[in-house]
């Protein structure tokens, strides 16, 4: 057996045992993620913008020249759709990809708190969604001639919506087999786009679906974003805030559990 010799300065100082602060690790993880996605980044942002704007214009084609109330629904629903899409579609796709290529498991061998991976990913994806959200709102204003007065709490609301949706996508991608996770995300898109009271009022849906949406996070998400964009026309019921925050906490805990889980 070889005996331990005194290590030269560089290696011995590099030998790690101390806990590294999460505040120092988060920007480093963000840099890692951003660089890894750098080549796809412009395309991802562009797709988000197109999706967001197309939601407004596409719905416009469906309904023709809507009444002012309907127009306001369409214009204020679009940003929710794009935030939810990033979380439910892009998140699972990217997580499934990094699991398949093996980088996800290796990253998990690093001395990084599991929640930090979640935080870094969510921040990157929210930033990717942001230009689309803003341009979607602008497209709505121009297309439907509505007046919006965004309030300061739109930003935290958008973060909570994004966080909740991405946590659902994250947990799904870690707990389900890859193909099932991707299939699930496709189904959810369909439900969010067509069968959720995001771009139209809830009373157009069958009663049973209205009841279901009382307990699901999508309607509260839409209500919160709407009220943030046009506080004069919409309010968020306290119950919706409670439902949304509960979903947010449960989903983030679920995603953290999924990341901590050992085979």
């Amino acid at each position: 057996m070889t005996t331990t010799t005194a290590a030269p300065a560089t290696l011995s100082t590099a030998l790690t045992t101390p806990r590294v602060s999460a505040l120092r690790q988060l920007p480093l993880l963000l840099r890692w993620q951003a660089r890894r996605m750098a080549s796809a980044l412009p395309l991802l942002v562009l797709v988000q913008i197109l999706l967001s704007v197309a939601t407004v214009i596409g719905y416009g084609l469906l309904v023709g020249q809507p009444a002012p109330a309907e127009a306001l629904y369409l214009a204020t629903g679009a940003p929710t759709v794009s935030l939810v899409m990033v979380g439910l579609v892009m998140t699972p796709q990217l997580v499934v990809q990094s699991r398949t290529e093996g980088s996800a498991d290796w990253m998990r061998t690093l001395p990084v708190p599991r929640e930090l991976f979640l935080a870094a990913d969510l921040l990157v994806w929210t930033l990717i969604a942001l230009p689309g959200v803003v341009l979607g709102v602008l497209a709505g204003v121009l297309r439907f001639h509505v007046h919006l007065a965004p309030s300061w709490w739109l930003l935290p609301t958008a973060l909570v919506v994004s966080l909740t949706a991405a946590a659902v996508g994250y947990a799904m991608a870690w707990l389900l087999p890859g193909t099932i996770a991707q299939l699930m995300s496709q189904v959810l898109v369909f439900v969010v786009l067509l069968f959720s009271p995001v771009s139209f009022p809830a009373d157009r849906m069958p009663v049973w679906l209205q009841h279901a949406h009382h307990w699901l996070p999508i309607e509260p998400m839409a209500e919160a974003v709407r009220a943030g964009l046009a506080p004069g026309s919409f309010t968020v019921p306290g119950r919706s805030v409670a439902v949304l925050l509960t979903w947010c906490v449960v989903c983030v805990a679920g995603a953290a559990f999924a990341l901590r889980r050992r085979a």
């Binding site: 057996m1 290590a7 030998l15 480093l28 890692w32 093996g102 498991d105 290796w106 990253m107 061998t109």
Partner: protein, 329 residues
């Protein structure tokens, strides 16, 4: 000296497509600081499962894993601070360059910026990777990617460094540089657990070898002690002359290896006589070449593992079934 890794009675089984696979069936293992311990075993012997349990990606069914005395099963976060891992599959780092990836991992692992930068250039120079240091990762060869993955593991090494097949795809010249760096990690205080198939090269670097087969430890000794199992027998390797048959003396049994090659086991005491016979045959033109070699670790390894594993899947499935009843009981 306190061990950096102490594994005791480790058992883990999986159910895959209805089959119970006993990946680890009571593994005991110890790595001391300053040691390179080679973990040998063919595909499916349970090596990667073992590694995954050390860093808390997989939870053992029973047994203990201690890293520098800390319970790695109860505190995987602590284990991850103490262990750095090079995974068997290359980690894709598209979008990054080798230099940037290595430095960034060093800093994520807690090295100060200046130290991470210095260590990065030191490693890239030692591994002769400077020509690719600033090349986008998607443009480098498999060997360079493999060495980059090693550097990512060694830039801020843990007290325990786990390397899973570090030499795969690496060219012979850089492989020597890599072995030197692996040895250096141990010489400077880390314990190294080296998972490999490359028996021949590992022999020169490791302090101890652990042979794993079907989730069990078959041998845990120095390379010399393992080869000594052959009891001082040497191998005479012969290249036969086409159409000529050597005249074999009594006691020398030639085993035909095909394509005009043959070998014979020679007890050490008869080595001189065997060499004399072979040079006579060479002079007579019945042999083209001969060599007398000590039994290689590879030969012993194949013997050791070959006996146990029989014909792969069937044998291990049966083994797994036995294990399952044992566990249930």
């Amino acid at each position: 000296m306190d061990a950096v890794l102490e594994v005791h009675g480790l058992r883990k089984r999986f159910v895959r497509r209805g089959h119970v696979v006993q990946a680890n069936a009571g593994v005991d293992l110890r790595v001391a600081p300053g040691q390179v311990v080679g973990l040998l075993g063919h595909n499916g012997a349970g090596k990667t499962t073992l590694v995954n349990q050390v860093v808390g990606l997989t939870r053992p069914d029973s047994g203990t894993v201690r890293v520098c005395g800390a319970d790695a099963v109860a505190r995987p976060d602590l284990a991850r601070r103490l262990v750095s891992v090079q995974a068997q599959a290359n980690v894709p780092i598209t979008g990054l360059t080798p230099a940037r990836a290595v430095e960034l991992v060093g800093r994520i692992r807690g090295a100060r910026p200046a130290v991470a930068r210095h260590r990065t250039s030191e490693l890239l120079e030692s591994l002769d990777l400077m020509p690719w240091a600033r090349t986008p990762a998607e443009k480098v060869s498999g060997g360079v990617a493999r060495l980059t993955a090693f550097a990512m593991t060694a830039v801020a090494p843990g007290r325990l460094v786990v390397l899973d097949e570090p030499t795969n795809d690496v060219d012979p010249v850089r492989r020597r540089l890599l072995w030197a760096q692996i040895r250096r990690l141990a010489d400077e205080g880390s314990g190294v657990l080296l998972v490999t198939h490359n028996v021949r090269e590992a022999e020169r670097v490791v302090d101890r070898l652990v042979v794993l087969d079907q989730g069990r430890v078959l041998a845990d000794e120095t390379p010399a002690a393992i080869t000594a199992r052959r009891g001082g027998t040497l191998t005479l390797e012969l290249d036969l002359a086409p159409g000529r048959h050597p005249m074999t003396p009594d006691g020398l049994v030639l085993v035909d290896r095909g394509r005009l090659r043959a070998t014979a086991a020679v007890p050490a005491a008869h080595a001189a006589a065997a060499v004399q016979w072979a040079s006579d045959e060479l002079a007579a033109g019945r042999l083209e070449r001969y060599a007398l070699a000590p039994a290689s670790l590879e030969d012993v390894y194949v013997e050791l593992v070959g006996e146990g594993s029989g014909d792969g899947a069937a044998a291990s499935a049966a083994g797994a079934a036995d294990e399952a009843t044992e566990v249930a009981a």
